[in-house]
Symmetry: C2
Subunit: 571 residues, 2 copies
C-alpha cells in the first residue's frame, strides 16, 4: 500500500484520558479513535493488525481440531434465565427489549448459546469431544471503561467451548488448548506466561490465564527463577519455611504500647522489624460453634483471602469480624489482638508458625507481649497457607525462588465442569444408552486486547514497535524527495513492486513530506523494517536499512539489498 | 477436514417455518440453526462458506483501493439525532439505554459513524477521495423476520462509504465500486445483474442494485433481450410506441355499462380486449390550482406510482383522490371516470396517448363511451411515462425487448450526495482554503444474504450445489467400507493428504455409515467434486469421480486421477 492511499492519522497529541501507553500510542499512531465511552473505531492501520491477530488465532484453533462457528451478538434472555446467570450477572450485561417487548442482551460470553446448540445437535457420545470456537464481537457494559481497548465495552473475543463425556477427555482438550495458546502467543511475538489461576469451586489444575508481561499489567504474577512455574500471586502456594522452628529464648513479657495500633506503629515504638511481630486478624467463621476465628500472619506478610476461605473454619465470602465481635472474643480493639489465651480457633500461617520470641497483641488495649512463643505461651489450632507469596520465597515447584512481575491477561482457559450443562440439561447418550450430563471447558482470547498488550510490551519513546507477525506492514520504503528525483521515484516504485510480488506487506511512503516527518511517522506506527532511498546513497550504489529496534541504520549495496532484506525478514 | 471432526448436522426434516428453499436447505444441510426470531447460529459448514465469501469481498475491495475499518455495532444516538435519522428511522432501529441511561442503538448501517470519523480525521482535499469499508455485524429489528438469513434481524454486511470533493470524483469511485461488485459477484459464481435503481431525490445515474437471479426473488427486474440493460421494473422507462397514432374511425358513442366498474367487467361486458380501454385514475395534485389530477393508462397497463409522482402536477407522496373529490371533479364514482370533458389536468401515459377508437368512462355512473379519440373528443394536458414496463416492451436502451425475471438484492451502490455530510457538517478545505461540504457514496453487500442467494440459485432436489469458490469444501472423498478395508482406508488417507498438500479444501468422510447415507449427505451439503473409493473400483485400478451437477459418475484410472481432478478444479 502507499501512504497516499492510507488514512495515516498520526498525531502528536496525547489524549488526556489516555493513561496507559498502549491507549496513548493507539490514538497517536492512528490505530483507533474513540466513538463514545468504551467504544472505538478501528482505523485502517489497526484493522490490518487485528486481521493478522485473528488469522493466527484461527489457524492455530483449526490446527487444534476446533471448529469455527458464529453465534449472534444479540442473545435471548430466556437462556440466561435457564442457566441462572440472569440473576448472577450484574449491570455489565446490557439488557434490552426488542420491538415485541421480548428480552434480549448483548452477549458478554456465549456459554448459554453454545450449550443450547450442543444439547440440540449432539446426540451421542460418538460425536464427542467437540470444541467450537468463534471470533465475535462482545459487549460488557463496564461502569468505568478505561485504558482504551484494554477495558472497552465493545471488544472482539475468540471464545471456544468444548464438550466431553468425562473429565479425562476434558483434560485432554484442555491440554491441547494450552498448547494451542502457547503457539498462538508465540506466533504473535509476545513475551507471555501461562499462569495458574483460581478455579473457584472446580478445584484441581483446571484454569490457566495467559499473561503478556508488561510493567503496566494489572495483575501480579509469581514466577520461579528456575522453572516454568507461574501463578497469580493470589494463587501461588507459600511453602512452610524449611527446618525446625527456633527454640524460645525470651520470657513472655507484657509491655505498654499506648495508642500503637498498626504493625508499623508497634514496630517503630518497640524498634523491631515487622517480621518479628505476629499479626492477628479476627474473621467470620464458617460454623455455628465458631462464629469468629483468628488468623495469625507474620507482620510483614499479607493475608490472602482466597486461601483463607478455603479453610473449612473460615466463612465464604470472606469477611472480617465486627468491632463488637472482636471485643466479645478478645476483650480489646482490633489493634491489640494476639493469640495468647484466645478462646477461639487460631489458624496460623506457615511462616508465622515458624516464629519464635515474637511480639503480639496482649488482648488488652494499649498492651503487647514480647517474647511470645508457640506451644509454650499459646496454642496453634491449625497451620495453613494464608498469605501471598513475596519475592524471594522458595518456589512451590521446588526449583528456584519467587520473582514477581506484572502481566496483562490476554487469554484464559478454564475447565467449567458441568455448571452450564447441568443447568441447561445438556446430555447425550453414553455407551450404555443412558443420558449423561456433559463436561465442558471454555477458552478465551481477548483479540482487541492482544493488540493493546502487544504495544504495552513493545514500544519506545518514538512509538509502537510491532512484533513482525502482526505489524500492519512488515516493511516501509521511505524515498527522499521522490517527487523531485525521478531516479529515487523509479527505484522506490520498483522495490515496492518487487517486495509486493514476494508477498511482503510493504508500505511506500509516497507523500511529499519532509524526511523527518516521514521517519517519525514510520517509527510511530511501528513498522519493523525501514528502507530509505535517497540520491546520496544511490550515488554510492547504496540503500539504507534500519531495523525499528536498532539505534543506527546500515548502508547496504543495492545489488545485495534483496537478499539482505530477506535474511532480516526470515529472522 | 474429516467428517469425524466436523459437526455434520444434516437432517431430513424441513422446518415448518422455512418457506424458501435456501432457508430449508440451510437448516437441512446444517449450515445454520435458529436461536430466536431472526437470529441464527452459523454452524461450522456455514462459517466456512461465510469466510470464503468475506475473503473474496475483502480482496476485491482492497484491490479497488478501499481501506478496511471497523466501527462498533453499538452506536450512540447523539449522532443519529444530528443526522436527523433518529426521527426518520422506525422501530427497526433497536434503541436502548446503557447502565448510565445514555441512549444507544444497534447499528443497521454506519453512515453517521463514518461521517463523524471523516469530519474529524480528514482535513484537506489532498486526502480525498477516500473509501472506507468494513465487514461487520448489523441489526435491524424487522417486525416479521423471515426466509432464514435472507431477512434476519442480525446479519453481516460489507458496507463502504466514500467521500469526495465533487460529483465527478464520486462518480469515479462509484464506477470503480460498480466494477468491483461485478468482480465480486462473478468470483462468487453467481448469475447476477447490476440493475438501475431508484435514486429518490438525488436523481441521475446514481444507484444500482445487484441482483442474484432466482425464481424466488422478491424483486421484478426488467432486462433487455439484446443488451446489458437491467432495471427494477418500477424504474425501467416505458418508451412511446413507434409511429403515428392511428386515425379515428369510430364515432364517440355513449353506451350503458350497468354495474360494470372494473376494466375487466367492462371488457367482458363489451367483448373487448383490455388494451382497447383507457383507464382513468384521479389522484391528488401537487398544486393549489389543481388539487386533483387525472392519469390515463391503457387498460392492460399498471400505474407506476414512482413515475407518477415525478410529474410536477402529481402530489408526493402518491395518493388517490377521495370519493368525494372524484364526485366533485368527474360527477361520478371511480368506475366510470373518463377524460372526456374533464375540467382537470389530464396526464396521459405514452401508450395510452397512442390509442384510437378507445373505450373510456363517460363520467356518469353506469355509462362508458366507445369510439373515443384524443384531440377530436378530449384534450391531453400532457403525455408522460406513467406505467410499469411489461414483457415485450421495447427496451429503453434501444436494443431488444424487455424480459422480466425475479432477483434477490445482494448489493446496492448509491450516490448519497451531501445528505449526511451537510447534516453532520463534514467539510474539508478545498484548494482555495475554503471549507467545502463533502460528497458521499455508500456501497453495501449483504454477506450472510449472499450465502442464501447462492443457494436459491444453485440447488436441486438432493440439496445445495455450491459455486466452487464458496463451497465449504471443494472436494469430498467418500471411501466405501473404509473401516473394514485397509486398502480403501490407505488410499483414501493418502489421497486426502495429497489433496491437502496441494491446498485443496477436502473433506474425508471417515464415518462408518452406509454408502447411501454418505452420498446423500455429501449431495445435501453440496460439495462440487466427489471421489468414491471402493474395493471393486480398486480391483480395476479405478476411482470414481462425480461432479455435483452431473447425473452420472465416471471411472478414472488411479494413475491419471490427480491430473484429471486438477483439470476439473481448474474449470
Amino acid at each position: 500500500m502507499k501512504t497516499s492511499n492510507l488514512l495515516l492519522a498520526t498525531t502528536r497529541e496525547t489524549p488526556s484520558d489516555a493513561v496507559v501507553i498502549s491507549h496513548q500510542l493507539m490514538i497517536r499512531a492512528g490505530i483507533i479513535r474513540p466513538l463514545a465511552g468504551g467504544l472505538y473505531n478501528w482505523l485502517p492501520l489497526g484493522v490490518r493488525v487485528l486481521r493478522k491477530v485473528e488469522a493466527i488465532i484461527r489457524e492455530e484453533m483449526n490446527r487444534s481440531g476446533a471448529q469455527e462457528v458464529l453465534m449472534p451478538v444479540v442473545q435471548p434472555m430466556e437462556l440466561w434465565e435457564e442457566s441462572g446467570r440472569a440473576n448472577d450477572y450484574g449491570p455489565e450485561l446490557l439488557r434490552f427489549k426488542d420491538r415485541h417487548q421480548r428480552d434480549f442482551a448483548l452477549g458478554p460470553t456465549h456459554e448459554e448459546i453454545i450449550t443450547d446448540l450442543v444439547r440440540k445437535e449432539i446426540r451421542s457420545y460418538k460425536q464427542l469431544p467437540v470444541n467450537f470456537y468463534q471470533i465475535q464481537t462482545k459487549f460488557r457494559d463496564e461502569i468505568r471503561p478505561r485504558f482504551g481497548v484494554m477495558r472497552s465495552r465493545e471488544f472482539i473475543m475468540k471464545d471456544a467451548y468444548s464438550f466431553h463425556m468425562d473429565r479425562e477427555s476434558l483434560q485432554e482438550t484442555y491440554d491441547e488448548m494450552h498448547a494451542a495458546y502457547c503457539r498462538i502467543f508465540s506466533r504473535l511475538g509476545l513475551d507471555f506466561r501461562p499462569v495458574q489461576a483460581d478455579t473457584g469451586s472446580i478445584g484441581g489444575d483446571g484454569s490457566h490465564e495467559f499473561h503478556v508481561l508488561a510493567d503496566s499489567g494489572e495483575d501480579d504474577i509469581a514466577f520461579s527463577t528456575h522453572s516454568d512455574f507461574a501463578a497469580n500471586v493470589e494463587l501461588a502456594e507459600a511453602l512452610a519455611p524449611k527446618g525446625e522452628r527456633p527454640a524460645a529464648t525470651e520470657a513472655l513479657t507484657k509491655v505498654a504500647t499506648p495508642n500503637k495500633h498498626s504493625i508499623e506503629d508497634v514496630c517503630n515504638f518497640l524498634q523491631l522489624k515487622q517480621k518479628k511481630v505476629a499479626k492477628t486478624l479476627l474473621v467470620q467463621g464458617a460454623t455455628e460453634a465458631h462464629p469468629v476465628v483468628a488468623l495469625v500472619l507474620r507482620g510483614d506478610h499479607e493475608l490472602n483471602e482466597i486461601k483463607a476461605v478455603k479453610h473449612p473454619l473460615v466463612a465464604e465470602p470472606f469477611a472480617f469480624a465486627s468491632d463488637q465481635a472482636i471485643m466479645d472474643a478478645a476483650g480489646c480493639k482490633a489493634g491489640s489482638i494476639g493469640p495468647v489465651d484466645l478462646k477461639i480457633p487460631v489458624i496460623v500461617d506457615r511462616s508465622a508458625a515458624h516464629m519464635a520470641d515474637f511480639v503480639c497483641g496482649a488482648n488488652e488495649d494499649g498492651f503487647h507481649f514480647t517474647g511470645a512463643n508457640w506451644d509454650r505461651d499459646t496454642q496453634i489450632t491449625e497451620v495453613a497457607d494464608l498469605r501471598n507469596v513475596v519475592k524471594g520465597d522458595p518456589s512451590p515447584c521446588g526449583h528456584g525462588h519467587i520473582e514477581i512481575r506484572r502481566g496483562i491477561e490476554v487469554g484464559h482457559i478454564f475447565q467449567l465442569g458441568n455448571k452450564y450443562s447441568t443447568a441447561l440439561n445438556a446430555n447425550v447418550q453414553n455407551e450404555n444408552s443412558r443420558a449423561q450430563i456433559l463436561e465442558m471447558g471454555c477458552y478465551g482470547i481477548g483479540v482487541t486486547r492482544v493488540v493493546a498488550a502487544a504495544i504495552e510490551q513493545n514500544y519506545d519513546d518514538k512509538g509502537v514497535i510491532w512484533p513482525e507477525s502482526i505489524a500492519p506492514f512488515q516493511v516501509c520504503i521511505v524515498p527522499m524527495q521522490m517527487h523531485k528525483s525521478p531516479r529515487v521515484a523509479e527505484i522506490a516504485q520498483q522495490l515496492y513492486k518487487d517486495l509486493q510480488a514476494q508477498g511482503i506487506d510493504v508500505l511506500l511512503d509516497d507523500r511529499s513530506e519532509r524526511p523527518g516527518v516521514m521517519f517519525s511517522d514510520m517509527d510511530l506506527i511501528g513498522i519493523p523494517h525501514r528502507i530509505v532511498i535517497g540520491e546520496r546513497g544511490l550515488d554510492n550504489g547504496m540503500l539504507e536499512y534500519k531495523y525499528r529496534r536498532d539505534a543506527e541504520s546500515q548502508e547496504i549495496p543495492q545489488a545485495e539489498f534483496m537478499s539482505f532484506l530477506q535474511s532480516k525478514l526470515a529472522k
